[in-house]
């Protein structure tokens, strides 16, 4: 028998702590598969965030650094500047990257830092118990917007991929989704391109991944994936926001 699909060895055998149906597991696997396919396991360093992916170092079978909340792009910068031959990526959620770490991600892009960022947008704070994120949709109920996000009170959700794409130093920015298999396949291709961008020293690359948080959304895993399609994608359009890798 020929293997069509099996778990990549770039993921450890540790069972992930994520809730059933959480998109993080899918994205972890995609990142690990890309690292395996590019043959860069022995030189890739992962910088994991504070948030649900805080234990990422247990799952990625590579050297890892746990960064302070929002600071992964700065910490990754320090590492990449010391060992430019390493492939350095950050894996960050929307509280981490779009809120507390907004300055660090903007300036990593602004410097054209030769790192790769995987940004998980699930429109909520997961680890702390479902609070409102900068990416929470208008009207979406969270534990700190119990009546639904009111744009008069706290603005409209921030579109990170579009924002980063306006920065000169960003070489490749794409938004993808893991709501269905075709989109998962596209997401993997985008993540691969973002790593290739670093290998080719083209500049900063960011992939925003629309992902699910069934527990804090109060939905079943399948309903959560449907909600990405029905509610998130219309506000957060998928696609390449910037690509100068061929220039």
């Amino acid at each position: 028998m020929k293997t069509v699909f099996k778990k990549t060895p770039v993921l450890t055998d540790t069972i992930m702590h994520y809730c059933p149906g959480c998109g993080h597991g899918i994205v972890h696997r995609l990142v690990a598969e890309v690292i395996e396919e590019l043959g860069i396991q022995n030189k890739t360093i992962g910088f994991v965030p504070v948030g649900c992916a805080v234990f990422g170092y247990k799952y990625f079978n590579i050297d890892c650094v746990e960064a302070a909340h929002g600071r992964a792009p700065a910490a990754a910068t320090g590492c990449k500047r010391v060992n430019p031959e390493n492939i350095v990526f950050t894996y960050q959620g929307d509280g981490d990257l779009a809120s507390i770490g907004a300055a660090e991600i903007v300036h990593a892009a602004h410097r054209g830092e030769k790192i790769t960022t995987i940004f998980i947008n699930n429109a909520i704070y997961g680890m702390t118990g479902g609070q409102m994120a900068p990416t929470t949709l208008v009207g979406q109920k969270t534990t700190t917007s119990p009546y639904g996000r009111d744009p008069e009170h706290c603005g409209k959700p921030i579109r990170i991929a579009e924002m980063i794409a306006t920065i000169e130093g960003a070489a490749y920015v794409e938004r993808v989704s893991v709501d269905c298999v075709p989109n998962i396949i596209k997401a993997k291709a985008a993540i691969k391109k973002a790593f290739q961008c670093q290998i080719d020293r083209k500049g900063f690359a960011l992939v925003e991944v629309l992902s699910s948080c069934p527990t804090n959304w109060g939905k079943s895993p399948a309903e959560a994936m449907d909600w990405i399609k029905s509610d998130m994608i219309p506000y957060y359009p998928l696609g390449v926001k910037k690509d100068t890798t061929n220039e």
Partner: protein, 355 residues
């Protein structure tokens, strides 16, 4: 090597480079801007990297990442900027990474002033950020000593896997003095197998994980026990102190940094009046030279102690803890940025003697 006339905040980065520092991440703030400026000119010439970060917060996290990769790395700032770095410093301490942080103290609290101060003693010696940790804190009182201590700072950081702070005041940074860059005694330095440089699943080196998260109570306890054991070892082995004119003194001054030099002039003025005053100058503020101070104070000739600081008496608390009520202690100084003169210190000593 011949002596060179150099400003403190240029001699310090030069000494860091000579100590093997090749990476510097910083953010502009007065009065320490000469340090990043010097580094920005010199580091690219020696195969290193200077990077101006978007904030002090980012700078200390770049230090975290560079230290995790195994580099000798440094940042510098001044009081308000060092406050911003505290989160990162706690993470560096928790992740057991070596680095050097230079704080050219200015007046506070808040935006304060840009004049010299010693108001960050608590922040530097008691931890500064969250959690049970210490920095090794080195306090030079001359440009030459700052140069010599840079080597010590990087070595201690590597040996004990801890952040080390060079705590100077704005005077050290701005003052020009003759300095000599001489060979330093080489200490035995450990390897860095914990550094993240890439994991080969077929190799012998285990996967490196740099982390300060220990969600299990027992594991966090183990990490803290490891830190506390290390701090105990540092307290036993690494105390540095200068004792000046203490033999048979009536009054012992305790002071550090440039204030200690002013106190030496005050001691000379007191001697002219026939009063013998000595000085205990901690060079390591943490570990504090408790034993050494107690020994000096135990002399029968010593009647009392006087701490002099540009603060509201921050180090004085450690002095009182050390002396523990065995002899009277007193404090002279003001918070903010007021640097006392030798004359007024001498006058205060003589006046309080009569009282």
């Amino acid at each position: 090597m011949a002596k060179k006339l150099m400003k403190g905040s240029e001699a310090i980065p030069e000494a860091a480079i000579q100590a093997g520092c090749r990476f510097f991440f910083g953010y502009p703030i007065t009065p320490q801007n000469d340090i990043p400026e010097y580094m920005s000119a010199r580091l690219p010439k020696v195969g290193g990297c200077f990077l101006q970060a978007e904030s002090e917060v980012a700078a200390i996290n770049m230090v975290y990442g560079a230290a995790a990769a195994g580099a000798r790395v440094m940042t510098s700032s001044s009081s308000p900027g060092v406050s911003l770095k505290q989160e990162g410093i706690s993470y560096i301490a928790g992740a057991e990474l070596p680095c050097v942080i230079c704080n050219m103290m200015r007046g506070g609290p808040g935006l304060g002033s840009i004049q010299p101060s010693q108001g960050d003693y608590f922040q530097a010696t008691k931890g500064g950020g969250h959690g049970d940790y210490h920095l090794i804190v080195l306090a030079p009182s001359s440009v030459q000593e700052a140069v010599d201590l840079m080597h010590t700072a990087f070595d201690l950081a590597d040996i004990y896997r801890t952040p080390v702070m060079l705590l100077a005041d704005g005077i050290i940074g701005q003052m020009m003095e003759p300095v000599e860059f001489h060979e330093h005694e080489k200490r035995e330095l450990p390897d860095k197998p914990w550094a993240v440089t890439g994991y080969d699943p077929n190799g012998t080196k285990p996967r490196a994980i740099v982390n300060s998260l220990y969600i299990e109570v027992d594991e966090l306890q183990e990490m803290n026990d490891r830190l506390q054991a290390r701090y105990k070892e540092i307290q036993e082995k690494e105390v540095m102190v200068e004792k000046y004119n203490t033999e048979g003194a009536e009054v012992i001054i305790c002071a550090y940094g440039t204030v200690a030099r002013i106190c030496k002039s005050a001691i000379a003025l007191c001697a002219e009046k026939g009063v013998k005053v000595g000085l205990v100058r901690p060079i390591t503020l943490w570990p504090f030279p408790e034993k050494e101070l107690v020994e000096v104070m135990a002399q029968p000739s010593v009647k009392r102690e006087l701490t002099v600081e540009i603060s509201a008496g921050q180090m004085h608390e450690d002095v009182r803890l050390a002396i523990n009520g065995s002899k009277p202690t007193d404090f002279y100084g003001k918070p903010g940025s007021y640097t006392p003169t030798a004359e007024e210190i001498a006058e205060y000593i003589l006046k309080t003697r009569e009282a």
